[in-house]
Subunit: 398 residues, 2 copies
């Protein structure tokens, strides 16, 4: 009846208010972000903010929070660093950290679920329906994790010894804990390598790191899935085990297309996603957009391509006939002069595709696929890489 | 007429004899090797030698020579090491090299053209029709290239400096020259890295390196296409440029499927193949083989999987119904206890595939595909990666 309906509505509103209250420190966000979930915030960058922008404007940078944005007092903030390699656990203040050499690195962060919608459209997946905007690039300023470990007492062996740090069986992972409760880990060899460029960042695009992106300190793990770049990091633990967090152990893993409902054992046996496979997407023209051809009768297409592990994108092929013929795109100069094996940022590309008279005036599907410097390429279809959580959705973008 | 025919036959025989004479130092080879060309020798390993063998017996190891096997006097042999990083060029004898610390590394070498036949069958390619046996694994014994560079005077900076060796713009490549005339190069950062494990090998599977595999000294570049592991190496040059050899500049590159006849400019713009993409193959059952099912009505399949750049294979999926359903294979323990990011050897796998009653007694196509620890996967079809030279033939193996 009416009274019950009113009571239910009131209860729902109280729940909503209580939930919202948990998120009271979440900042105001750019209205152009495409929000897939508000609490916690999951919002992708609009395609128009990514086109021709090697560095994503901070306010358009995709937001993928797992929990409420925490309220952190920077004056009392301490970063605990602990574990077998650190003789005594230490607690570093923001000031301590900022005394270490400052380093800036331009890094693309991509959500494991980027382009999930494309996979979901082939066969349903569980998760937010990200399009191609769960990816952005910033220039991060901060200190090297390896310098912080050294500062905390970890004894980095010189590169001249034959016994390498990763031969130390007591330390094979570096675990990160975020103030809000999130956690993840990365392999120790990535953290300690002079070429790994793992950062504890306090700046984003030359400004203080905003609350939404992990202030006062976040981890930035170049070439890895964004899920390991823990925001609001307050504890770093060297360990012989991966993080025990839900997100390290029970999520962010890939499975065979035939593992429709992964069980405990499947999760234990599968490898955590760390380095990402090669990926690309068309940003322009947008779906359904009417296109004016160039005087030469060509269609201009633009997009991005990126690979994991510091691998550089070496070629992007674009097709307007379903892959029968391909035009090799022009790769734009990278945002930064990356060192070999350390290409941490995406590449923008554009291509002018000759449009045959037979398809003029008709609807055209644009397809793109990228190749990285290990000549890994994107799979043609989603079917062969389908997984229930819809991660690693990297088939040719259509 | 008869006289002319006889003269032609005689001329042909003289040509053949002259050609054979160039190859007089080529050794006797195992008759089980599958020879695709004799002069120079191009012979693949028989599948049965690769099944269940993490280390390939030396005599069954595939042979891919570009020129005749040279005749080298080990007493007068010298390895020249030169370039901007080396104050004075040096010439090291075999004895000099063997005085450096000995290191053994188990490495899979794979020809860029492995499985070319599978690509060729989809659309013709230019090159020898390798099946899945242009790949083998050995335990190589020798000295680290980085130790040799140090010995020659190159000053390896400690890992603690922020200016890394690869920031030196005067040295970005290491060129290798083989006594027989072959040449290739690798990026300097691979050569100098303490984690790169680039070897100058004088042993193969615990025995002196045989003539066919580069005696007295060959390069072994783990995780890279075999074409860079130069045999019979007699000169190493640090340079700001890649090797000028035909094989570095005009071969061993990947192109878009629409580049049907690569021109000079295409070769200049394409990246040299170095690290290889993820690959796998079924070795058993052989094509056309009649199969006895297990008591549980399963078919036993075996094969290998491998990736480049030290990436570990984390999953192999096998299907007997064209990819509608997949069985996750069991990965055999690796031949060696590889360090993270330095998995230089392949993985063997086996799978028991449930055979439905509907396909019993019929011809069954087995399909396999692998995923590496960066979650790169093999493309489904050859069409999207087709290239005129038939290299990087890594679509699902059928
Ligand atoms: Mo994510
Ligand atoms: Mo090769």
């Amino acid at each position: 009846d009416a009274i019950e309906a009113a009571e239910n509505a009131a209860a729902e509103e109280r729940d909503r208010d209580a939930l919202k209250d948990l998120f009271k420190f979440d900042p105001k966000r750019d209205p152009e972000l495409i929000t897939h979930a508000a609490y916690p915030c999951n919002a992708e960058a609009p395609a128009r903010a990514l086109v021709d922008a090697p560095i994503t404007p901070t306010e358009k940078f995709f937001v993928r929070n797992h929990l409420p944005v925490p309220d952190i007092d920077t004056t009392t903030y301490r970063l605990a660093v602990q574990g077998p390699g650190i003789p005594d656990g230490v607690a570093l203040s923001l000031e301590d950290l900022k005394k270490l050499p400052k380093k800036t690195v331009t890094v693309t962060l991509q959500c494991a679920g980027n382009r999930r919608k494309d996979m979901h459209d082939v066969k349903p997946t569980k998760g937010l329906q990200w399009s191609q905007g769960a990816i952005s690039t910033a220039t991060w300023g901060g200190v090297l994790l390896r310098d912080v470990l050294k500062q905390a007492g970890y004894n980095t062996p010189p590169s001249t010894t034959t016994t390498l740090p990763d031969d130390d069986q007591a330390i094979s992972h570096v675990q990160f804990h975020g103030t809000e409760g999130y956690g993840a880990s990365i392999p120790f060899h990535k953290a300690i390598s002079a070429q790994g460029d793992v950062l504890l960042a306090y700046e984003m695009n030359g400004e203080p790191l905003p609350a939404d992106h992990g202030a006062p300190i976040r981890v930035v793990v170049p070439g890895y899935v964004a899920a390991r770049s823990v925001k609001w990091v307050d504890r770093i633990t060297l360990s012989d085990e991966e993080s025990w967090s839900h997100w390290q152990r029970k999520d962010y893993k890939g499975f065979s297309p035939s593992t429709e409902m992964p069980c405990e054992e499947d999760y234990e046996n599968a490898k955590s996603i760390q380095e990402l496979p090669v990926q690309s997407a068309v940003l322009l023209p947008a779906k359904g957009q009417n296109v004016t051809l160039t005087e030469q009768g060509e269609m201009v297409c633009k997009g991005y391509a990126v690979s994991g592990g510091g691998r550089e994108v070496v070629r992007v092929d674009v097709s307007a006939d379903g892959g029968r013929t391909w035009t090799t795109a022009t790769l734009k100069p990278a945002a930064t002069d990356a060192r070999p094996g350390r290409q941490w940022a995406w590449s923008h590309w554009d291509a002018k595709i000759p449009v045959s008279s037979t398809i003029k005036g008709k609807e055209v599907e644009i397809v793109c696929k990228a190749v990285d410097d290990s000549y890994n390429s994107q799979p043609e279809k989603m079917e062969g890489i389908w997984n229930m959580r819809g991660v690693l959705s990297t088939a040719w973008h259509r």
